[in-house]
Amino acid sequence: MIELLAQTGLNALYAASYISLVAVGLVLIFGVMGVINFAHGELFMVGAYTVVALYADLQMPFLVAITFGLIFVGLLGLVMERSMFRPLRDNPLGGLVASIGFLMILQALASIGFGVRMEHIPPVTQEVIVFSEKVRLPLPRLFVMVAAVVLLGALWYFLRRTRFGWALRASAQDPEAAALQGISINQTARIAMFIGAGLAGVAGALTAPLVSVNPHMGHSVIVTAFIVIIVGGVGSLEGAVLASVVYAFVHTVVTTFWDGVIADIVGLSLMLLVLIVKPTGLFGTAERA
């Protein structure tokens, strides 16, 4: 029993690490631009496909593929910002609808380019850390966890300790006042979009060898990310990370003891409950006006 719990805990930590990367990016985009990016799950999917193309097909080193995933998806984010979110700045629902359109385009491109069936990606390493007979941690999962900690740490440092990060937080709090202080709204939007999209891309790239890669994989990712950002409080980065951990534990435990669909239902009910009882989220502070 202890062993089962320990294994479940490890699985949950792994899930929490990539979920938090996706959710933090989503929160960052929402915080700075006020847009809910429905295509975020598809950015994750594109990240996974860069690994399919570069690592599995072209046999480049895994690290190169991941870096490329981060940059490429980040650039995709810039394209979204310039072509859709900037012209629709005064139209929050419009941005959301446009991102749904973008989602469909990305899905279609992935199906056309790679086919709809599951991609097989050779494992990066077969090594497994064995704690005991029933408690094991495959090394690729550890990579994901370490990468998440490093990336989130870097983001934290960027937001709290650099001028750009300071500008970003300022325009998230009050865009108009920030603009009056000479902070370029377009500039901060670009940075937020690049980082937010890049994080989703790198999360997809990191987990690509561990999950089934297909053009529709983004759906469950975006649903999970929504649950996490609502539970954590929309607009709160720390809340998103904490909620990722909470959600991953609940989901993994329910999956282990019952099944995956029940776990999804429990997750969605949790989100609905938070929306009803405390719409600002468990860890959120004030609501964004």
Partner: protein, 337 residues
């Protein structure tokens, strides 16, 4: 007089239409007819300013319920369809208690969660919902004759006539509802909710009412669908279908009654007739996505705004035909606070 002529001509055209089409196009026409009801009911829901992402699942509730009643209790199919609609309305009423504690973006996400929970319940519980494979062998409409025409429901033409009649009645009902004091209150709740509240309108109750009525019509659309195809499963009502409904409504525009219907008809024709016949099957989501983005960027008030502009010189009083004529443009832009 001119108006009466217009309606008679339209009715004649709609009666003659299926005979000019191929068999597979007739089948598409049936779906189109049902989707018109779906998207028109979606507009009724958006009248109070809230955009739900659960509408297609609610439609599914009507489909599942109607299929279930005929299967388990042997209810006569047309009666069962009505019961399916009532069930959908009741489920919507239950959902409205938690959902209408939220507004704007939170309502959108909350409705998505609620719909997804219902859908996962269908998927999870084999009994009575049939699990991932859904319900099969749903009782078809029994054939009947009205003297001048024999309804044989193996023929899509017959089902088209039947569905079109039902949809026409529903559209007329929705039109009447919107023009009634209740419908005007819906508009007031959307555009002036503080003022409406101050004037003694129970805003919450009217939001719920719009949601419940719209859900009833959506449920009927689902039931019409279920007894036509004969098989339904949880994936028939997933968020992808919801995206299509959203696209129809936004491309068409939601300020007028006909806007979403126009969007649905135009995009379906483009989709099925043009793209499918031209062999762009795989490109369809791509083109749909591009249309969605382009229309929100360059035609934020929808196709209806083009029609309204074209009709303007012919109208004696400005915007007399549209109940929302004096309201600000109802692009989703101004919907969320």
């Amino acid at each position: 007089m001119l108006k009466a002529l217009f309606w008679i001509a339209l009715a004649a055209a709609l009666i003659a239409l299926p005979h000019a089409l191929s068999f597979s196009q007739q089948e598409i026409l049936v779906f189109l007819t049902i989707n018109v009801l779906l998207v028109a009911s979606y507009r009724l829901l958006t009248l109070t300013g809230e955009w739900s992402l659960a509408h297609v699942v609610i439609m599914g509730v009507g489909a599942y319920a109607s299929a279930f009643y005929t299967k388990e209790f042997g209810v006569f199919v047309p009666v069962s369809m009505l019961l399916g609609a009532v069930t959908a309305a009741l489920v919507a009423m239950v959902l409205s208690y938690p959902l209408f504690r939220m507004k704007g973006f939170y309502f959108l996400i909350g409705s998505f969660a609620a719909g997804e929970i219902i859908r996962l319940l269908w998927k999870r519980f084999r009994d009575p919902f049939g699990g991932p494979k859904g319900l099969k062998g749903i009782e078809p409409m029994p054939d009947f004759s009205i003297g001048i025409y024999d309804f044989d429901f193996f023929e899509p033409v017959s089902y088209y006539y039947f569905a079109a009649t039902v949809v026409a009645v529903c559209l007329w009902l929705m039109w009447r509802i919107e023009r009634s004091p209740v419908g005007l209150t819906f508009h007031a709740v959307h555009w002036q909710d503080k003022l409406a509240q101050a004037a003694g309108v129970n805003v919450q109750a009217y939001r719920t009412l719009a949601f419940v009525i719209a859900s009833g019509f959506a449920g009927l659309a689902g039931a019409l669908m279920a007894h036509y195809i004969g098989t339904i499963n949880p994936n028939s009502f997933d968020v992808e279908v919801m995206v299509f409904v959203l696209t129809w409504a936004i491309v068409g525009g939601t300020a007028t009654f006909y806007g979403p219907i126009l969007g649905c008809v135009v995009l379906t024709i483009l989709n099925e007739i043009v793209l499918r016949e031209m062999g762009f099957e795989q490109m369809r989501p791509l083109i749909y996505g591009a249309i969605l983005i382009l229309s929100i960027l360059f035609l934020p008030n929808g196709l209806e705004s083009l029609v309204e502009r074209a009709l303007k010189p012919f109208r004696r009083t400005p915007a007399s035909g549209t109940p929302a004529g004096d309201a600000p443009p109802a692009s989703p832009a101004s919907d969320t606070p």
